[in-house]
């Protein structure tokens, strides 16, 4: 992983000292809230419902054990003993005091972490495939360019006051695990004529007006990456709608001007600025790449894994759901679920974080990842070590075998914390997980992506959930809208709304009706919910939802 240079350390120290002085001036009354707010947002400090919140970037989701320990220390020293991993590979602390935040930032700087540009109208934390550097299907590790983009975008003088926030995601695998088409810019590493380059998508995003990113450049040569990105952001910076925050994102700019016109302007701008990139960026990239060299993998026998897999049904269930194929046959990618039934999706206690740090150091070449699905990944574990790893995880409630299943829910903080939320999402996630666990239906239902947002901004990615839930405030009452058939994968798809929403008390039974309908109508266990939805369409599920006593029964009987 990337290690800070002297330049990086000096930059961060200066920046943190500046913010410390800004906080002091706010506390002394020299700065008004109006003056202070944009400054604190650029440093990741929000004021939420019950307290301040500090959002710390975990660039492209990559951490070492020392960094994870520092996150645990922060949770204990300045917060209430836990942190919340978000859907953008950040961690949020829910209870810091304003006066403590400069100390928190200094503690983070010691391990090469920061909260810069995790908020505000800037280029945000660059996200990446959480299996980067480990996945069997990967063309190239996307993290070196993610780091290059982090360095280029951090404090970029032209891009500190953009029309709105701007999000970039990168993947180096044909299977898109980074939801690149739902970002302002999505970058996919592709090969052409033996050379690697980038497919560039622009104008994707969820939120109030969900749109799927469009390909603006099918193949961008490696050396053109930064000037091309700069051209795109620059064109949007001039054209973007600062008059209306709901129309300010680049997806609306692309929609209003058309992809062709945007592409033409980008090419024009690119031609102008390309010569100013002398090649220093490429020299820097080569240096960054060297720091992302794969660890010295040790060859390990498969037998200990195979023995445990055959003998221990609990280990087997976990291995079946939580392991993914590593590029080496004697290793596996381990997803540690932060979704124990009834717990808050994405929350980890300081004790759990320390255990994960220890296990990464002991079994995982010191590597950890945070996924946008709010889980922790140990990207490189020898299969021989998996039984011992599983036993250690189990002791701290971290061995839930539910990755990719119903209870592996993405949920935003919702109205339990967030000042923008219109309804709660965490307790809905908790109740759904517990309800289906009690019914013992989760494994029978099989692969399912359930995603919950507590407002229209869609931090919980509800549009791309197989089942999406959106919490709204309808005349002073929490109301939950359901969408079906979304897909967060390579062929990104937006779900269709079923109809009127359901109250807080009604939402869990409503989801049960949808899933019982699926169980009754699927062709076999091999047909997933999403596949069944694509075959059947919205109608039977809608009937099950809104006319549970009539039409659905009829349909179910007909199918039987």
């Amino acid at each position: 992983m990337y290690h800070y240079s002297d330049f990086d350390r000096a930059f961060l120290a200066t920046r943190n000292a500046q913010f410390r002085a800004q906080v002091a001036r706010r506390i002394s009354g020299e700065l008004t809230e109006e003056e202070f707010k944009p400054l604190r947002l650029m440093n990741g400090v929000y004021l939420q419902l019950h307290a301040y919140m500090l959002r710390v970037a975990i660039p492209y989701g990559t951490l070492g054990s020392a960094q994870m320990r520092a996150l645990a220390d922060l949770a204990e020293t300045y917060d209430k003993g836990y942190g919340h991993f978000t859907t953008r590979q950040n961690i949020q602390y829910n209870w810091p005091k304003l006066g403590d935040i400069p100390d928190m930032l200094d503690d983070l700087a010691r391990v090469g972490l920061h909260a810069i540009q995790t908020s505000g109208n800037t280029i945000r934390n660059v996200t990446a495939d959480h299996f980067a550097g480990a996945a069997a299907d990967e063309l190239a590790d996307p993290r070196p360019i993610a780091e290059l983009i982090r360095q280029w975008s951090t404090d970029h003088p032209e891009f500190q006051f953009l029309p709105r926030k701007f999000k970039v995601a990168v993947t180096g695998s044909p299977e898109d695990r980074a939801v690149t088409a739902a970002h302002d810019i999505g970058l996919r590493i592709v090969a052409r004529d033996g050379a690697l380059g980038y497919q560039v998508l622009v104008g994707g995003g969820l939120g109030r007006t969900p749109m799927i990113g469009k390909i603006i450049k099918d193949f961008l040569p490696e050396a053109d990456l930064l000037p091309y990105l700069e051209a795109v952001v620059s064109v949007w910076n001039s054209l973007g709608r600062r008059d209306n925050k709901y129309k300010a994102r680049i997806k609306i700019t692309v929609h209003e001007h058309g992809l062709e016109e945007i592409a033409r302007r980008v090419e024009e701008r690119f031609a102008l600025i390309r010569p100013t990139f002398s090649g220093i960026d490429q020299a820097l990239l080569a240096d960054i790449r060297a720091q992302f060299a794969p660890p010295a993998f040790r060859a390990a026998p498969l037998a200990p894994y195979e023995v445990a897999y055959a003998a221990d049904p609990i280990f087997r269930a976990w291995a079946d759901t939580n392991l993914a194929r590593h590029k080496r046959a004697d290793h596996a990618i381990v997803t540690v679920s932060l979704k124990a039934h009834g717990e808050t999706p994405g929350d980890a206690s300081a004790t759990q974080m320390r255990l994960l740090a220890d296990l990464a150091a002991r079994f995982g070449y010191d590597a950890l990842r945070i996924s946008h699905e709010q889980n922790v990944i140990l990207p490189h574990v020898a299969r021989a070590d998996l039984p011992a790893l599983h036993a250690a995880l189990k002791a701290q409630g971290l061995a839930t075998a539910n990755i990719g299943l119903l209870s592996d829910i993405i949920a935003c903080p919702g109205m339990d914390y967030c000042a923008l939320a219109t309804a709660r999402s965490i307790p809905v996630a908790q109740e759904l997980a517990q309800h289906f666990d009690a019914l013992k239906l989760e494994h029978d239902i099989g692969p399912l992506k359930l995603k919950i947002s507590g407002c229209i901004n869609a931090c919980g990615h509800h549009h791309v959930g197989h089942i999406g839930i959106l919490g709204l405030d309808r005349a002073g009452v929490e109301s939950y809208q359901i969408t079906l058939g979304g897909d967060h994968g390579t062929d990104l798809a937006l779900g269709s709304r079923t109809g009127p929403g359901f109250s807080y008390e009604e939402i869990v039974p409503a989801i049960e009706r949808i899933l019982r309908c699926y169980l009754a109508l699927r062709e076999s266990r091999a047909e997933s919910f999403l596949e069944a939805f694509r075959r059947l369409g919205l109608a039977p599920f809608k009937a099950a939802l809104y006319e549970p006593d009539a039409k659905a029964k009829e349909l179910v009987h007909a199918a039987e």
Partner: protein, 94 residues
């Protein structure tokens, strides 16, 4: 006007506070001054000291025997804290 009180978040702690009749910021809603005259409420809101709190606003309440309670569920959550963890006001004895 609908009976209302003035609420905000404290500058240093960020927690929820309510303006009392003595001009102090209290941690519980029960101590808040309830306004029924719009002009008085607006005047008090205008004179809030921006060095102590952030984002002060008028919040409608319903009155039972003179005691205010929130009209909107968001305000009810603000009097307690999050529902997933026993943190915030509910844990601090307010």
């Amino acid at each position: 006007m609908t009976p209302s009180l003035i609420t905000a978040n404290a500058l240093l702690e960020g927690d929820v506070v309510y303006l009392t009749a003595h001009g102090h910021w209290a941690r519980t809603m029960a101590e808040a001054e309830v306004f029924t005259d719009e002009a008085v409420a607006e005047e008090r809101l205008f004179s809030v000291n921006p060095a102590e709190v952030v984002g002060a606003y008028l919040m409608p309440v319903s009155l039972t025997d003179g005691a205010p309670s929130p009209v909107h569920f968001r305000e009810a959550f603000r009097t307690r804290g999050p529902s997933n963890r026993f943190h915030g006001k509910q844990a601090e004895g307010y």
